[in-house]
């Protein structure tokens, strides 16, 4: 239980630091006219962040279940795929290839069907292809969105 209280302290602390930075910048950056509204907001921001920090420290922060180790373990592979997809593959491999691979990767990673079954793999590839065809039709053919081509398609 103390674990949850400790966990709640982390986001509360980060948000408080963020609010302090925002407040400091709002009151020091030039030109002042541009920062009048940010100043007003930052005062509320830092006050609420401080209040939230106190509540977290005293264990009053009651909502939110926090992060369990099983959640972290389950989320990690998918998160990794997302980050690689968005920050590298989309431009490096090209939008459509990266999207297809990411779709297939996430689908396969979280699909309860066994990884050794060829039948399951055929299904996965087919669904990926069908989905990407719909996306291609909608975004490239209808909306004429020009996606980064990258190395491949």
């Amino acid at each position: 239980m103390n674990m949850t209280r400790f966990q709640h302290l982390i986001p509360a602390g980060i948000i408080f630091v963020l609010s302090a930075i925002v407040t400091w910048l709002s009151f020091t950056e030039e030109p002042a006219e541009s920062f009048l509204f940010p100043r007003a907001i930052s005062v509320f921001f830092i006050a609420l962040a401080a209040w939230n920090l106190v509540r977290a420290a005293s264990g009053l922060s009651r909502v939110g279940e926090g992060m369990s180790s099983s959640v972290m373990k389950n989320v990690f592979p998918g998160l990794l795929v997302m980050i690689v997809f968005v920050f590298w593959a989309a431009k490096g491999l090209g939008f459509y290839l990266a999207s297809s691979l990411s779709f297939l990767a996430i689908y396969s990673l979280y699909d309860p069907a066994p990884w050794s079954s060829p039948k399951a793999w055929i299904k996965r590839v087919m669904i990926t292809a069908a989905f990407m065809a719909v996306v291609y039709g909608l975004f490239t053919l209808v909306l004429q969105v020009r996606t980064p081509r990258g190395l491949f398609f």
Partner: protein
């Protein structure tokens, strides 16, 4: 128009003479095409009604003025409603107008009642939409002048009124709701100051362009949902993330009629907000949702897949469509970005909006308005058909759903400005939101802050500049009937939030106690 027809009723009934134009074969075909196309474009993540209507402008070059406007009007009507489809089924609001729909609509769909959510949403859209167009038909001369009364100080107070909703939008924690709102307000200020052109809070080059609302919206709603599905792991129970079994239409209609209070609140809020130039429909759904909850006896059910929430939100954002054209048609003032695009559609055919537009081009304008009326009804029919159709195919298991929503989120946020930076921002915000949600923060107040920040901030700057040249900010922002009325509403709203918060503390709802980790 008022001068030409002294009797208001006579003037009002004029529109009946122009229904013939709507039912000509080409016109009807365009109306059908516009409606169906609009539903599809509206349901596409990242494609806002404004962009959808702008995409259709080139087609109108080849059409007559009347035909072109029928196409644009039908598309406008149905893209606004179509946004509800992705909000409900994917938890990706197609446009800011559909955020509130996602709150209850997606919850309902996850409970296996996707068809019910879609039907309710289209029915409510239809009712709100028809009433909005009727306002446009009957009350244009009266309301046009009223729309002009809102200057920067009033718009500032309206934005602040929206900000006061933040505290009550999150039912879980008052402090965290407000704090989420503050984070949203701060995020909205990143980038160039819209009016003064100075840079604010640009820590890295990636943020120079600021945070565009639509990629942010997609990230904040869709990514946490994707990660939530990840967190269940390779669950062996093959649960459908969403299923849309058939739901009796008559049951939906009955529910709609039972929720007449929410329907009225949604329609009134949507019409009023739609009428005010410069606010746009972005906040109408959320404000209506909040009001409907405040007046509902089943307040605590909002956010858990409650019908009233969907009804209030969707009736509001379609009720806005008709009134938003009032300042456009009679004063040539486009009240919303979409109305601005429609203005272009009028101009290329040499039709200049103005108080005499109904006398000069009655055929074009009335056919256009009538087609929106018919368009609303077609939209409901096709929308409900969509729901039935979705019932057959949308039974995606969680892994497919997660992968699909991710890919759509990436394509959707890229397509807004064809910018990779937007996709990066989308993902970063989404991952951050997932973590924040785990600790009791919510996306809805954060998004509301993100939308209202520029409104409040820019109208504040704008008003201050005018005030500085006149009698000073005190007089400018705090005197005059409309300012005082709005300030009273702001105070009432804040007072209500605090009062309600006190009540809840004294008498905690048992349902919420269950979510709390042991202390």
């Amino acid at each position: 128009m008022g001068d030409a027809n002294p009797s208001g009723e006579q003037a009002g009934m004029e529109f009946l003479h122009y229904f013939g134009g709507v039912f000509e074969p080409v016109a009807l075909l365009l109306l059908l095409g516009g409606t169906i196309g609009g539903l599809i474009l509206g349901a596409t993540p990242g494609l806002s009604p404004t962009m959808a209507v702008a995409l259709l402008i080139p087609f109108t070059f080849h059409l007559s003025a009347t035909q072109g406007l029928i196409l644009l009007g039908a598309a406008y009507t149905s893209t606004v409603a179509g946004g509800a489809v992705s909000a409900i089924l994917l938890n990706i609001p197609g446009a800011p107008a559909n955020i509130a729909t996602a709150l209850d609509g997606n919850e309902m769909a996850r409970k296996g009642q996707g068809a019910r959510a879609l039907q309710l949403s289209f029915l409510a859209s239809g009712v709100g939409g028809v009433i909005g167009v009727l306002l446009l038909i009957f009350l244009t001369p009266v309301l046009a002048q009223w729309a002009l009364k809102f200057g920067p100080s009033h718009l500032f107070w309206i934005a602040i009124l929206g900000v006061t909703v933040i505290g009550s939008l999150d039912s879980k924690s008052f402090v965290k709701g407000l704090l989420s709102g503050c984070i949203g307000l701060w995020l909205s200020m990143i980038g160039y100051d819209e009016i003064l052109g100075t840079e604010r809070f640009i820590f890295t080059d990636a943020l120079t362009g600021g945070i565009h609302i639509i990629p942010a919206l997609i990230g904040l709603f869709a990514i946490p949902q994707v990660m939530e599905m990840f967190s269940k792991g390779r669950s062996t129970a093959n649960v459908n993330a969403i299923s849309v079994p058939k739901y009796s239409l008559s049951q939906s209609i009955k529910e709609l009629l039972d929720s007449i209070r929410s329907l009225s609140i949604g329609t009134v809020v949507g019409s009023v907000i739609g009428l005010i130039p410069g606010v746009g429909g972005q906040i109408s759904g959320l404000v209506a949702y909040d009001q409907a909850r405040k007046f509902s006896p089943m307040r605590e059910k909002f956010g858990t897949g409650h019908a009233e929430g969907i009804i209030a939100a969707e009736s509001a954002n379609n009720a806005m469509v008709g009134p938003s054209l009032i300042p456009l048609l009679t004063l040539s003032i486009p009240g919303s970005p979409t109305a601005a695009v429609l203005l272009g559609g009028l101009l290329i055919h040499g039709i200049f909006p103005g108080s005499d537009i109904f006398d000069k081009h009655p055929q074009v304008v009335w056919t256009f308005i009538n087609s929106m009326l018919i368009g609303q009804i077609l939209m409901v029919i096709f929308g409900i058909y969509t729901a039935a159709w979705a019932a057959r195919i949308a039974k995606a298991p969680a892994p497919i759903m997660a992968a699909g929503v991710l890919v759509l989120a990436v394509f959707g946020s890229y397509s807004v400005q064809q910018s990779m930076g937007d996709v990066h921002i989308m993902l970063v915000l989404g991952i951050g939101m997932f973590l924040l949600e785990k600790f009791g923060f919510s996306a809805a107040p954060l998004v509301l802050g993100l939308i209202l920040g520029p409104l409040a901030g820019d109208y504040f700057t704008n008003g201050s500049m005018i005030a500085a040249a006149q009698n000073g900010p005190w007089v400018y922002f705090f005197t005059g009937g409309l300012n005082i009325l709005l300030i009273s509403l702001v105070s009432l709203s804040i007072g209500y939030s605090f009062w309600n918060n006190m009540l809840q503390k004294r008498d905690p709802v048992p349902e919420k106690a269950g979510q709390e980790p042991g202390q």
